[in-house]
Amino acid sequence: MRVTFKTSYDRDIDLHESWRQRGWIALLLAIMAALPFLVGEYYLAEATNTLIWALAGMGLMVLVGHTGQVSLGHAAFLAIGAYTDAALMNAGVPFLVSFPLAGLAAGLFGALVAIPAVRMSGIYLAIATLALFVIVEELVIILEPVTGGIGGIQAPSIMIFGMEFDRYLALDRFYWLCLAVVALVTWGYANLLRSPTGRSFLAVRDSEISARALGVNVTRTRALAFGLSSGVTGLAGALMGHYIGFFNYELFSIFISINLLLVVTIGGLGFIQGAFFGAILITAVPQIISILRDTGSNWGVDLGTIPGLDTAIFAVILIGFIIYEPAGLYGRWLKIRAWFELFPLARRDMFRRQKTYLKTERMR
């Protein structure tokens, strides 16, 4: 086990404890940046998709993982981001302006909706956000002149300083664009968590009553978390629109909301890394299933005719995680790492959750 000798408060404030960690992050970034030269078109497109999902997952993670609020309506913010961006670009606004505006629009809408919604909690909030999703879906159909209604809308190809970042014509550049956005958002997210704002999110999540007693304005904090969450999800929506190219309201179905919840829960609630682990899983599983289908049909087993196979496998994975590893993929990774670091001293019971005694009902 490695012990860091701290000689300054900065060591606790800094994002990374040691230069070793910084080295790993730099290596990861370098590999990610070099990916277009390492893999083919197909896998690069998948990697791009994963990045977009990770971005949306980070958006939801702020809310679910760090502020303890559930949202079943995050597809609505994806839609707002995608439509705002596409509509603005169709009106001639350059991407560098329309993209932040898409995030801002989704964020402001989220914060606005949050002001009444955050007074609810738990299942009630989930239902309210579900209702919000239905409303946004209807709005998209009604606002046909802007959104293209049922017919759909084309996200124009991205031009930045005369360079094309089109998903089909210049996939490597579009990938780098997504990577840059994801890296920036991750950095901002990590900063948020080590700052007073992030601490107030955790405070609201873990004990609302003592957050209040410490001077945290709970309603405002939750609305802020909601706004930031929907803003980041809006950014992901804008990128998703460009990734798909031509889309209508059906792209942002309720299943997208549920898949996003899967990303954060399976990935590991309360960890930024969890959003990435979850995004990898959620984008890889359908691919693995289709590969299995191919190999299956080679061996004469026709898996293609089984309906709902993807959904069933997702369901099994989700149930498995909730029962055996509530901390998610990232939580499991931490345990594996600890096992190696402590070898051979790690014990099975080390991570067993202790019963907390004297836990009483919280005053609401």
Partner: protein, 255 residues
């Protein structure tokens, strides 16, 4: 000069008069204890002062200012910190982070500066950390600094909660049963800390406690309540000797 003045305070939940016409005033720099049997309304008085409940009638004045209608989160800003009877810590954070959360009212940065972690945010973090380290030293929490709350023993959590309240830098600290569930040694330690808070930090302490030896040791003034009403006020010995108080605790003999 009284720091906290409570006048004719009452809260009724339906037909239950949890607190009914309680008045007292806490002198600045003193230790004031509220005692009484279970269900007497002691914690309810605390919850009224920290604005979790809305009083049915009466007023609360802090430092000459009426705080009866303030929002719960505004009370902390005035310099009132509290602990809870059943420990309300942030279980999934470290001791250090819990104490830093106590510094919330002193934050000077907004969320945009936080996202970019500007040099100002870092400077502020240094100031918060310095204050928190003072609390850590005072309460001897050095060994637990990086430990998660969820894995800590009960006695330590109790101390961390006092620390979180102190980190706020309050003028008045409300301690809700600081010694409950503690060993004899631990509760003696609490007594020393309360003394130090008053003497060295100039704090005013308002405390609810069952442990009469602790109450007698540190209190300047004791108020006994039962069934939401005041029974007696005065010195610890005087209140303990009061026949009404004895009756409330032990019951009256059937005549």
């Amino acid at each position: 000069m009284s720091l906290l003045e409570v006048e004719d305070l009452a809260v009724h939940f339906g037909g239950v008069k949890a607190v009914d016409g309680v008045s007292f005033s806490v002198r600045e720099g003193s230790v004031f204890s509220i005692i009484g049997p279970n269900g007497a309304g002691k914690s309810t008085i605390f919850n009224l002062i920290s604005r979790i409940y809305r009083p049915t009638r009466g007023s609360i004045r802090f430092d000459g200012r009426d705080i009866t209608r303030l929002a719960a989160h505004e009370v902390a800003r005035l310099g009132i910190a509290r602990t809870f009877q059943n420990i309300e810590l942030f279980d999934h954070s470290t001791v250090l982070d819990n104490l830093l959360m106590g510094r919330h009212v002193h934050r000077r940065s907004n969320f945009i500066q936080d996202i970019f972690f500007t040099p100002k945010v870092r400077r502020e973090e240094h100031i918060h950390r310095t204050r928190v380290e003072e609390v850590i030293t005072f309460l001897e929490l050095e060994a637990y600094r990086d430990k998660m709350i969820a894995g800590l023993p009960y006695g330590v959590r109790k101390v961390v909660e006092i620390g979180r309240a102190l980190a706020l830098g309050p003028r008045l600290i409300l301690l809700d049963e600081p010694a409950s569930g503690l060993s004899v040694e631990e509760s003696r330690e609490v007594a020393f800390w309360i003394e130090d808070m008053r003497r060295d930090m100039g704090l005013t302490v308002l405390m609810v406690e069952h442990d009469m030896s602790l109450v007698a040791q540190v209190s300047d003034h004791v108020l006994a309540v039962a069934e939401g009403r005041m029974l007696a006020q005065g010195s610890a010995a005087g209140v303990q000797a009061d026949p009404d108080v004895r009756a409330a605790y032990l019951g009256t003999e059937a005549a």
